[in-house]
Symmetry: C2
Subunit: 356 residues, 2 copies
Amino acid sequence: MRGYEVKEKRTTKIDIAQKLNLSIATVDRVFNNRGSVSPRTRELVLEAARELNYIPNKNAKYLSKKVRCNIGISYLLPEWFGSQVERGIQQAYEEFRDFGMQLIISKDALDEKEQIRKIREMLPEIDALAVAPWEPGTEFSDFINSLIDSGIPVVTFNNDMPLSRRLMYVGSDYVVAGRCAGQLMDAFLEHRGEAGIVIRSEHLTNMGQRVAGFRNYLSENSGIRAQGPFKVHGNMESVAEQVKEILVRYPQMRGIFVASDNLVRVADALKALGEEEKVSLVGYDLNEEHAELLREGRVRSVICQEPYRQGYEPVKVLFDYLMEGRLPVQNEIITKMEIVMRENLEGYYKEMKGDV
Amino acid sequence: MRGYEVKEKRTTKIDIAQKLNLSIATVDRVFNNRGSVSPRTRELVLEAARELNYIPNKNAKYLSKKVRCNIGISYLLPEWFGSQVERGIQQAYEEFRDFGMQLIISKDALDEKEQIRKIREMLPEIDALAVAPWEPGTEFSDFINSLIDSGIPVVTFNNDMPLSRRLMYVGSDYVVAGRCAGQLMDAFLEHRGEAGIVIRSEHLTNMGQRVAGFRNYLSENSGIRAQGPFKVHGNMESVAEQVKEILVRYPQMRGIFVASDNLVRVADALKALGEEEKVSLVGYDLNEEHAELLREGRVRSVICQEPYRQGYEPVKVLFDYLMEGRLPVQNEIITKMEIVMRENLEGYYKEMKGDV
DNA sequence: CTGAAAGCGCTTACAG
DNA sequence: CTGAAAGCGCTTACAG
């Protein structure tokens, strides 16, 4: 690739075989550790390979290989997020299908129980599993370990399962995601005043981590007092009512951090209350509605976490593991925190829509 | 890929040929428009392909194809930026080399004249060119057009050549990059006061666009008065002197937008002047020094523009064009504006270092 | 421990 | 307009 020295034909196993007066099968053996080769021959082959700068041809390899690899994928995510993850999966599929990869996708489970049942169903068909668990609980952790024990490597994404022996996790660090929101809020509120934290009714580990990160950042770096977390849920009217109560109780409040997926309703509530100008909103993720809120200046910033890559990487990692026996270098890929504001929205919006 | 319908072997050209009692050569002809095929046969083949859901196998295709494709790449960029671009190039190379792609890279030119000369040198060897021009001038534009006329498709990256008939541009929109910096500055300075703009001595189109974007954003959205642009250059002492003059002249100044690549020196100047706390810095791009400045809180934010992708995409686009005859859907890929602050630095830092 | 041969799914002359 | 055959660089039984 370097400089101008080009044009020479690539070295093949055949070249090495000819040079050493060996059969190509023997050469293949030393590279793939199948069958046995005398130490002397082995040495010669490796040396010749080094000398001729041999790089195996993946095309030929996978074309001739008989083994296929079937990867199961299971997740339950809101549609607008899931569809972005899916584009990453699709990309990986197109990249690897000619190499013998097949995908079995299950995404329509309603709860953890059903997710487990669906994964069990696909078990006879798959050699590996990529899964976005609902919550990092013990039961699901045990389930994952049982899969691993039965020889199915597992990669988690979007939501980790740290107690399990998963091969890898691909997704956000939710504490950092919270700190990030804290830093933005700090800038928007000019280091002072009060900021409220909004969560949803059920407890979710993710959300708890976001809240903790947010609070920590502010207490370490800012004069802003964080209030809450407030559980805000229900329909439009009920959200408006709850937001109103919060603002009445904390008249100094000039920012709201929405750690849940309720950003749109909170924004609408502020509008209904005529408090839009006064209160800065920070939340997560991009969809059609969030984009509109950013454009209108009704949300100051939203933090995204590479949804596309959360689909692509697990498939890639599992493929490499199954087909090449390659262990991932680290045991997690933490996605970047993408700070999206009005002026840099359009690039992320395009990506979200899939017209890159 | 969808659902559970898996396991069936992929349809091949052989399957289609057998089903229709044709030779595989004929089937191949209809897919690749080589040689002539009777309209009737053509119809039958296409119908069968649709019915059997035929997808050609890229592996087999490129393994048997005789044509190679040699892509020339020419850029002159600061090392720390260039090395990130290069990782994208490397990635594309690894993805496509088995498909018959070779790269000829030239990156050591000192000026435009030399860059043109070096490209001329590699001309006999290449089928396409990806180039990051120094400045979007007319002369270089004519040069690019002459290449295109002689049958060499050209993709520009990092720096566009809008007057030329290049196939595509991959890189930043510098006006938007300026607006983005304006929005950040507006938040950091709480919508008021003065912000200075720092550029370097020579006029560069890029930098002019950044400055214009910055000013426009502020005048449309903020109470901040933009001052400058000030030409700041030379060694450490001279930069410190110039920065000092600016601050003396504009005592209200609480932010500096560095549109040039002088961020480190300006930051050091502020430190030497004891004005670090008072003045918020915003600049571009990530390298080891910028990362350190962000960690220390001496720079508030830096805007990056997907350097990795600026290397990857041009190679991919040219490969698809040469080997598949595929025209790009749009004629530009505008990279995203990545807002990097202290709390979300580490993800970008890792990417910059290449240990993803 | 080593080799000869078939085959993966396609393209490419060559022949008709 | 169509077909038979060799070949791309590897893997995979099978044989020795």
